[in-house]
């Protein structure tokens, strides 16, 4: 049987302009007079070749900037490759985003039609599936209400529902599942499992290793635009984790936004065992008045599942906004009852100039105490290592 997708030597080059994000005529005109300005080139993808067989669900993983999104964009025909050739066999749909083209002024009904047709459905097809789509999304009552009055959760459900009723032979999905409430996420993952069971082909890019290992029968690890590993998901995930651990040199300073920097993000971590305490400290430096309205540490496990957050808001912090101010943070996380493993720490910050999550800023390692009993398999042990006294009486 012929592969449904054949990628041969796919490469993509970008030129980095050392200026604003888009060109302006003035730049172009000034370039005429100064030929010395050279754009830096970089290869987002370099000689990537692989085949995807019918019925495969292939997970694509890699660090930020490894070339995953570029690969998806090339496969979706949004941007052309610089070199190489892709041959595909079958109707392909790509979901780089759900709800593309949703317009706040249009009603739910109108948005279903517009979004559906953008994703390649025929009008007749949408008409036939319309009731099912509406039912799946659970927005029956608001069908003729403009989308701007929907809650963000409802918008997302509606968007995913349209996408769920696409029937392509090849489906390309970018982390769209990482959003929405838990109930709906389950529904979506279930729908994806149905798709892969029905023999169609899925390409799935994700940070969520748990989802990749559950949904995919093959995986591909990208690093610096090249394939580092490919094969069974668990092996590739293992390679990814190892690769990541090797690269744990952390920068002393991280730019959060213009004028706001994070310094010396530090976790004191000698031998850390389940139940131990963990000290942390970091400094925030602001060059401009920058009242902070939200701040939290985010803790992720190896599979990039969020384990928990440490809310750092208190009255002393909220509204601190002197110019050139330096904020020092330090604290202790008591009784860390986590199962052994590597944990990544990020930061969520919300202030005048920036709002969002910053990942992979630091990590700590919880190891298992030496014992006589061989521990159960990692995957069986969940997230929490309970403190427990007792046993057989």
């Amino acid at each position: 049987m012929k592969p449904v997708l054949e990628l041969k030597n796919i490469s993509k080059r970008f030129s980095i302009h050392h200026r604003e994000s888009y060109l302006s005529l003035r730049d172009r005109i000034s370039d005429l007079f100064s030929s010395s300005v050279k754009d830096e080139e970089f290869w987002a993808l370099n000689d990537v070749s692989f085949d995807v067989n019918p019925g495969d669900s292939l997970g694509i993983i890699g660090r930020n900037g490894a070339g995953k999104s570029t690969l998806l964009k090339i496969l979706s025909k949004i941007t052309p490759p610089t070199k190489g050739k892709i041959t595909g066999r079958g109707r392909m749909a790509s979901l780089l985003e759900v709800g593309t083209g949703f317009h706040p002024e249009l009603s739910g009904r109108e948005n279903i039609f517009f979004n559906g047709s953008l994703m390649g459905m025929k009008k007749k097809e949408i008409n036939n599936k319309f009731d099912e789509i509406v039912q799946f999304s659970g927005t029956e009552k608001f069908l003729d209400t403009p989308l701007k009055h929907y809650s963000s959760g409802m918008q997302l459900r509606l968007a995913f529902s349209v996408a769920a009723f696409l029937e392509p032979e090849i489906l390309i999905i970018d982390e769209v599942l990482a959003v929405g409430d838990v109930e709906f996420q389950k529904k979506c993952l279930g729908k994806m499992e149905d798709v892969s069971k029905s023999g169609r082909t899925i390409l799935f890019v994700s940070h969520n290793m748990a989802a990749v290992s559950r949904l995919c029968n093959r995986a591909l690890l990208l690093d610096h635009g090249q394939i580092m590993a490919s094969g069974k998901p668990d092996e590739v995930i293992h390679a990814y984790l190892k690769n990541r651990e090797e690269k744990t040199t952390r920068p002393a300073m991280v730019n959060l936004s213009e004028g706001l920097t994070l310094h010396d993000f530090c976790f004191k971590q000698d031998e850390l065992k389940p139940g131990d305490s963990l000290k942390y400290s970091f400094r925030l430096l602001s060059k401009v008045p920058n009242p902070i309205s939200g701040l939290a540490l985010l803790i992720y496990n190896e599979l990039n599942e969020r384990i928990g957050i440490v809310d750092l808001r208190n009255e002393a912090l909220l509204g601190r906004s002197r110019e050139n101010c330096e904020l020092n943070f330090a604290g202790i996380l008591d009784d860390l009852h986590l199962v052994d493993g590597v944990y990544n720490v990020g930061i969520y910050i919300s202030s005048n100039s920036v709002q969002g999550d910053f990942y992979d800023l630091n990590s700590f390692h919880v190891s298992l105490p030496d014992g006589d009993i061989v521990p159960y398999d990692r995957q069986q042990r969940g997230y929490v290592s309970f403190r427990h006294d007792g046993g057989i009486q």
Partner: protein
């Protein structure tokens, strides 16, 4: 699996319009146009009436200042009728070129996330101005009944549609060009309104072409592709074509803009997602 479903993705090669693909995506033309029209008049009290009110008000203003006060001579055609016949096409051009010019930028979030032939976007925004033209045309017919000038019906049936088609071509070429330029150089966001204003005075909308006597000004007028479209559209009113050679030049200019615009659009199309 059908053979037709096989596809290849390669680095950009030669320029083709790829009509087959445009045909495959034909429903999207409809949906984009439909969305543009819907969104335009959502949450407006008067809705689609604006399509009628705008040209009527412009006609009243021009009639007061140019028709009454300055007494512009229009070969026996009542001035309100004369100016409205120009405005019917002019509004197609001005809204069409403005919307098409900005269309790629306003739809950049879609361009970055999903593939379809990009040409659909500027074409649809011009198609949605055709909807406005339809309503303005009804008012035009109303004015004709009111003023009851002598009109050769066969002339009308030939030259009205022909004028509108030429108007579409005149709008489409520069519209495509501007939409591609705008996504590359955002300067064009400021160029477009200025261009539209300037061109109004280079079109025989508010004055007849005979007012212009200098040869070089006539040529400048004729380079404007709307000149020909408006003159053709007015044949049933005027009863004759006043300056055929200038009109021919203008129509030729329309086609040159069309071909140039399409070529430029197609050449940059592949990189829109990287630029947007």
């Amino acid at each position: 699996m059908k053979e037709a479903d096989e596809f290849t993705i390669t680095p950009p090669a030669k320029l083709t319009l790829n009509f087959r693909e445009l045909w495959q995506y034909r429903e999207l033309f409809y949906f984009f146009t439909w969305r543009d029209v819907k969104v335009k008049y959502k949450q407006t009290l008067l809705g689609i009436f604006w399509a009628i009110l705008q040209p009527i008000f412009m006609m009243l203003i021009f009639t007061l200042f140019f028709g009454r006060s300055l007494g512009v001579e229009t070969q026996g055609v009542p001035y309100p009728l004369f100016v409205f016949s120009g405005l019917v096409l002019w509004n197609l051009f001005s809204t069409g070129i403005t919307n098409a010019g900005n269309s790629m930028v306003t739809n950049s979030n879609i361009i970055k996330k999903i593939y379809f032939p990009r040409l659909i976007i500027p074409v649809s925004s011009i198609l949605s101005s055709l909807v406005d033209l339809f309503f303005a045309f009804i008012v035009f017919i109303g004015l004709l009944i009111w003023y009851a000038p002598e009109i050769n019906l066969i002339n009308a049936l030939i030259f009205w549609p022909l004028g509108i088609i030429l108007g579409c071509i005149a709008t489409f070429g520069p519209g495509c060009w501007l939409s591609a330029l705008n996504i590359k150089y955002r300067d064009f966001r400021y160029v477009i309104p200025f261009l539209v204003q300037a061109l109004l005075f280079l079109s025989p909308v508010i004055y007849p072409q005979v007012v212009v006597q200098q040869r070089w000004l006539q040529i400048l007028l004729a380079v404007n592709p709307m000149y020909g479209a408006i003159e053709i559209f007015r044949i049933p009113l005027n009863g004759e074509l006043l300056n055929p050679s200038l009109v021919e030049l203008s129509i030729l200019s329309g086609f040159i803009f069309l071909i140039g615009g399409l070529i430029y659009f197609k050449r940059t199309e592949m990189y829109f997602a990287d630029l947007a």
